[in-house]
């Protein structure tokens, strides 16, 4: 890893992680939503850095373009008075949370360092979209089709639950 490569990586990683930390400390839920936006953009940058161009652009389109807008829109519609997030946090859970988090962090660091990973992607940067397209239409044809049923259930189920109140009224 050359110096500039390393610099780029750590910049992108910081863009992903620091806003994530800021989400935890922001007192206003709208601020938290915007920090999430920045964090997701950082992750998209990391995907691009790793040569996963399709994944990176999908991340931008779906998460930043779609889901983030929905979250902010949802907040606008439902957010009548300011909710202070610090009120929701429970102090008594602090110690168990730190212990659990510590154990998970240790385990993850151990796994990341000790595992012999098997890299499958090539070193060269190549556009990936065409390969993904071929795979989706060949080996992964069935998951592709089943995903459409998952989406159908999500759609119908969402409307079904949301309209339940009307039915009862």
């Amino acid at each position: 890893m050359s110096f500039y490569e390393g610099l780029l990586f750590y910049l992108l990683a910081a863009t992903a992680v620091l806003p994530g930390v800021m989400i935890l400390f922001s007192r206003d839920i709208v601020h938290a939503a915007f920090w999430l936006l920045a964090s997701l953009a950082g992750v998209a940058g990391l995907y691009l850095y790793l040569g996963a161009d399709f994944l990176g652009f999908t991340q931008v389109m779906i998460y930043i373009g779609g889901i983030m807008i929905l979250i902010i829109f949802g907040l606008m519609v439902t957010h009548k008075q300011k909710i202070s997030l610090s009120q929701l946090a429970q102090k008594r859970l602090l110690v168990p949370a730190v212990i659990t988090g510590g154990i998970i962090l240790t385990a993850l660091l151990y796994v990341i360092n000790k595992t012999t990973w098997k890299p499958t992607a090539s070193e060269e940067m190549e556009p990936t979209s065409a390969d993904i397209g071929y795979l989706l239409m060949s080996d992964y044809l069935l998951p592709f089709e089943i995903a459409s049923i998952v989406l159908l259930v999500g759609l119908v189920g969402g409307v079904y639950i949301a309209r339940r109140k009307e039915r009862e009224a």
Binding site: T120, L141, V156
Partner: protein, 507 residues
């Protein structure tokens, strides 16, 4: 795999198309289910809002056709859709169990007066989607496919859990189910991504060799553990069992019955397939960096089994609501079944048969118990155990049948529950897990208390009112008696019938 070239390789393409055609031949049950699902949703949307009973007939018919097609599947084990699914007697057996459970669930929904008329079109559509997900769970051999199947089953379940007239309790159940479920599926997905990073393959069957190659990696063990945690959620086993009581109580009783049998069966099917690839019989497990064995899979599963059954049974002792009690009892039963998984021996399929047979028995027993709960609550308008006082004289038939189902849940002869438990205990003892068998014995003794308490209420305690309730409707009678028969017959035929004897996995 088709390569990405500018020009389409026509020969490879023709081969691929004929491969898909071959796969479809072994995929008809799922296709029928998918078509029925869409038909039910469209019928409800376009044609009729009012006649919701027709959607029940459609769902029942589609499931029945799918079940018939399952029995007609070619018996030759093979792989479908480029290694996504396995077509083997193992998956066929579990698909049949899930579909029988679905047929009963559709009938139970019609029996459950609380729900009739409340927009059943969407309900049946989404129920069938859950069934489709569970059938895929029973046959998936690729981890992407496993994840999608689990997600399809879970998402659909969250929605149908919320289907209840009293919306608050249903919404609470659905929300709890969804939150725990998303944590569980996140854990599982993380485990899958770690496994992919280590092995470069998503095939479950590939884990067998890789398990040995990665024997020195503690990371491999942690990754598998994460996947198992995601499955434990669907099985209602420790440590992912917290959602069970609230969801079982809050969901419509028919949905509770469905989740307690179908969801559990599908999850155990994946677990068996997954563990068979890791081969717990040979000394594999979480290993330390120096290669020394830290924890082997058999011990991990055995401990999970012991903790699950103990937690479930102890909590069940203090319940006053019968659905909540059956919820804790369902946790306990996940523990008993895990005992069979811990005793897994790939060479002679030892644990497999016990687990498969027990799941079949549990299907009829638990559906029967919930059917009686529905029949009783239609008359008594209560799901509290107190309300069962004096039921022995006021509703003699449901009380008698509930006795049979409870005897089977305890594992007393002459019910199939005895045969099932006997096979599970024998599998554990054959494997040398004596302490686990003893734990199972103690737990069974504990469970006698809370099952018998219901019998005591029904037969030994009198209620102020003595007049008998009107007899249950025809559907209620047919269902409860129809479920009690296999519970009794499987005791006599169980060992001999040997449906579960010939199960084999695509290896």
């Amino acid at each position: 795999m088709l390569a990405a070239t500018k020009q389409l390789d026509t020969k490879a393409f023709a081969e691929f198309v004929s491969g898909v055609g071959d796969s479809v031949a072994g995929f008809w049950p799922e296709i029928v289910l998918g078509i029925t699902l869409c038909a039910v949703l469209l019928y409800d949307l376009v044609l009729s809002r009012e006649r919701s009973k027709n959607t029940a007939y459609m769902a029942f018919g589609g499931t029945l056709l799918s079940l018939a097609l399952v029995f007609m599947l070619p018996s030759e084990p093979r792989s479908l859709f480029s290694g996504m699914l396995a077509l083997d007697s193992f998956s066929t057996f579990f698909k049949a169990v899930i579909l029988i459970g679905t047929l009963v669930t559709v009938a139970l929904t019609q029996l459950d007066k609380e729900n009739i008329g409340a927009r059943l079109g969407e309900y049946y559509g989404i129920l069938l989607a859950a069934v489709l997900g569970m059938m895929l769970m029973a046959s998936s051999t690729n981890m992407i496919m496993i994840y999608l199947a689990v997600e399809l089953a879970s998402l659909s379940s969250y929605v149908i859990v919320a289907h209840r007239r009293q919306s608050r309790i249903g919404s609470e159940a659905s929300l709890k189910y969804a939150i725990y479920g998303s944590v569980a599926s996140a854990l599982m997905l993380y485990g899958i991504s770690l496994l992919f990073g280590m092995t470069g393959s998503l095939s479950v069957m590939g884990l067998a060799d890789l398990g040995i190659r990665m024997a020195t990696d503690v990371g491999f063990g942690i990754a598998v553990g994460l996947v198992l945690a995601g499955l434990a959620y669907k099985m209602a086993a420790f440590p992912m069992h917290f959602w069970v009581p609230d969801v079982y109580q809050g969901a419509p009783t028919a949905v509770t019955a469905f989740l307690s049998v179908a969801s559990k069966t599908a999850a155990f099917a994946i677990l068996l397939r997954f563990m068979a690839s890791l081969d717990p019989g040979s000394a594999t497990g979480i290993k330390m960096a120096d290669g020394g064995l830290f924890l082997d899979w058999t011990s991990i599963l055995a401990v999970a089994a012991a903790v699950t059954m103990t937690l479930g049974n102890l909590a069940a002792l203090f319940q006053t609501n019968i659905k909540r009690m059956l919820g804790y009892s369902s946790i306990a039963h996940a523990g008993y079944i895990l005992m069979g998984v811990a005793a897994l021996e790939v060479s002679d399929y030892a644990g497999f048969k016990a687990v498969a047979f027990y799941l079949l028995v549990y299907l009829f027993t638990n559906l029967g118990a919930f059917a009686v709960v529905i029949v009783v609550s239609n008359q008594v308008k209560s799901e509290e155990i107190e309300a069962y006082k004096g039921l022995g004289t006021r509703m003699w038939l449901p009380a008698l049948l509930l006795t049979i189902f409870l005897f089977s849940l305890i594992g007393m002869p002459p019910t199939a529950g005895f045969t099932g438990k006997f096979l599970l205990f024998r599998a554990a003892i054959d494997k040398g897990l004596y302490w686990l068998a003893i734990m199972g014995g103690i737990n069974t003794a504990v469970s006698v208390y809370y099952y018998m308490r219901i019998l005591k209420f029904m037969y030994l305690e009198d209620s102020a009112e003595k007049t008998p309730y009107p007899a249950p409707c025809l559907l209620g009678k047919v269902l409860t008696v129809g479920l009690a028969l296999p519970v009794l017959l499987l005791f006599f035929l169980g060992a001999a019938a040997g449906w579960t004897k010939n199960l084999s996995l695509l290896g």
